[in-house]
């Protein structure tokens, strides 16, 4: 019985449990797809951004919407299992602790990846986005985002007392992420300082990387010049840095606040 098969067993179990909770399953499985669809058909999608059709620009950004939902999946699962003392039982079984965490992350990441692919296909097939110009960068952006939101979910779960609050917290996380990444309205309408804050919110660097990876342009620069394969990694360096800082913050929170036992104990 190796570690990987234990992780897989955990991930499978998480999925079974998720499907039994209808409301939660609907939220995390279908809502991101719905949001992405609404967003790409809204008024933002009219016109064009630096020569890229608005719908394509929006659809590419919408792929990143799946990440705050991973946050919701993981944070809620951690809180529920802790409060209902399922963690206590899991830790007393043959499972290593690392496999419990890894199972949560793998489960949420696979869900997110499937959703991201669906939205990407929609972006290319319906919204008129081009085939990704830099697939490795797109993959890197997704994995970095998945790691970031997983670390933040596990880290902040320690501060969340119960299931209801976990659901409440997930909403502002979602809105703040979408807002910061310019998915709700263009960040350019904000004052200068507001734009700086928005740039460093968790989802923003991921959205920027995904746009560069798919559309092959650097939207941070004036007039969004076309960038080559290696150049697209270079212009994403700052975004990768911000992503790593957020992962660091998530790990710090985990060290500081994570707990196995219920908060009321």
């Amino acid at each position: 019985m190796n570690w990987l098969s234990m992780v897989w067993a955990q991930a499978r179990l998480n999925q079974t449990v998720l499907l039994r909770q209808r409301g939660m399953a609907f939220t995390v499985l279908l809502l991101p797809l719905f949001l992405a669809f609404v967003y790409t058909s809204g008024p933002q999608s009219a016109g064009s951004v630096n020569g890229v059709p608005g719908a394509a620009f929006a659809a590419v950004g919408a792929i990143a919407v799946v990440l705050p939902f991973s946050y919701m999946t993981i944070a809620t699962a951690v809180v529920v299992r802790r409060e209902e003392r399922v963690y206590k039982r899991l830790r007393g079984s043959a499972l290593p602790t690392s496999a419990i965490f890894a199972g949560d992350i793998v489960h949420a990441t696979i869900l997110g990846a499937v959703q991201a692919v669906v939205i990407l296909v929609y972006a290319i097939g319906v919204a008129g986005a081009p085939m990704p110009s830099n697939l490795p960068l797109l993959l890197l952006a997704f994995l970095l985002g998945a790691a970031m939101f997983a670390a933040l979910a596990i880290g902040t779960a320690g501060l969340i007392p119960n299931y209801e609050v976990a659901q409440l917290i997930a909403l502002p996380v979602l809105f703040l992420s979408m807002f910061g990444a310019g998915l709700m309205f263009p960040v350019s309408v904000l004052p200068e300082w507001g734009q700086r804050v928005a740039d460093v919110l968790p989802l923003s660097p991921i959205v920027a990387m995904m746009r560069t990876a798919i559309l092959g342009r650097d939207f941070a620069a004036e007039a969004a010049p076309v960038v080559g394969f290696l150049e697209s990694f270079q212009v994403s360096a700052a975004a990768i840095g911000i992503g790593l800082l957020w992962i660091g913050a998530g790990l710090w929170f985990t060290r500081r606040y994570f707990r196995w036992d219920p908060r009321r104990a």
Binding site: M1, S5, M6, A9, Q10, R12, L13, T16, V17, R20, Q21, R81, E84, R85, V86, K88, R89, R91, G92, S93, A94, L95, P96, A99
Partner: protein, 306 residues
């Protein structure tokens, strides 16, 4: 192979300022069933938490199957089974799904049918865990704990809240496990449970072990009790010399209790006295002290000392 399954030396465990366990030591041999007895707050569960690897000791050391249960967890976690007082289940899964999920990460596991048969849940495979009764949940607890054929089983108050029949079933299962060579560490506040199952036991009170040994050891040194009711008879009227070593007479209400090291002799004296005076010894009883009495006595002594 090492013959000691559990070794505890001068164990201390603090929670903040509160010291739940204050320096205890005991050993459990392989294949033995050892019971930790005590009231709520005696430190039993804390001791078990340390042994099962949930919490590190704040002083002293423990060895479980020859290993540190936290530092060397990888060596022991698949060799032990744990039944906790209140560990949760995934409520929305069925009994079968729960066992199947656990089997996926338990090496050398029993198959589902076998383990459910064993705990008497075969008929409840398709039922969601949230719909099980308290006793059935306890049996599912046990099923998951014994799933990996553990060498060592920790049972934290395994029959609390069960009806008498369910209790006897759980006892039967525990006896079977012991018969197959499993070492069991059991905590309980039911004294009859320890009497029924344990080869050796320790009584804990306020974080310390106050008495320890085989049932005979713990009962030993305490006289047999002769109890009866005699309304209107003063202690001085009884045929016993006051202040005799090895015998003490106590009166509470109309009930006498004579604790004696020479039960046969003292009983003969009492019966012939009653016969001579035409007295009826109401509710006459002769018995060894129960754990309950020892337990109360220990608790009372500790309270005086404290």
């Amino acid at each position: 192979m090492n013959t000691t399954a559990i070794e505890v030396r001068d164990l201390h465990r603090k929670y903040g300022d509160f010291e739940a366990v204050r320096g205890i030591g005991f050993e459990v041999g392989r294949g033995e069933l050892y019971a930790l007895l005590g009231t709520n707050g005696a430190g039993k569960t804390t001791t078990l938490d340390v042994l099962a690897g949930y919490a590190p000791p704040t002083g002293g050391r423990v060895r479980v199957l020859g290993h540190d249960p936290i530092g060397e967890r990888a060596q022991v976690r698949h060799r032990m089974g744990i039944v906790l007082q209140e560990a949760g289940f995934y409520k929305d899964l069925t009994v079968a799904e729960t066992v199947d999920a656990w089997r996926r990460w338990t090496p050398h596991s029993l198959d589902r049918r076998e383990v459910l048969e064993r705990v008497g849940l075969s008929q409840r495979e398709r039922v969601r865990v949230s719909q099980l009764s308290g006793g059935e949940k306890r049996r599912l607890d046990l099923a998951l704990a014994v799933l990996g054929r553990p060498e060592l089983l920790f049972l934290d108050e395994p029959t609390t809240g069960l009806d008498p029949e369910a209790r006897r079933n759980v006892w039967e299962l525990i006896r079977e496990m012991v018969a197959e060579g499993t070492t069991v560490l059991l905590t309980t506040h039911y004294l009859d449970e320890a009497e029924q199952l344990a080869q050796r036991l320790a009584i804990m009170h306020a974080g310390r072990i106050v008495t320890e040994g085989t049932l005979a050891d713990v009962l030993g040194g305490r006289g047999t009790r002769v109890t009866f009711r005699l309304p209107g008879v003063l202690p001085g009227d009884l045929p016993y010399e006051p202040g005799t070593a090895g015998r003490s007479v106590t009166l509470s209400g109309e009930s006498y209790s004579v604790e004696t090291d020479r039960p046969q002799e003292d009983l003969r004296i009492l019966l012939s006295w009653a016969h001579r005076h035409g007295r009826e010894l109401d509710g006459l009883e002769v018995r060894r002290p129960t754990l309950e009495e020892i337990f109360l006595e220990v608790a009372a002594t500790e309270r005086v000392a404290a």
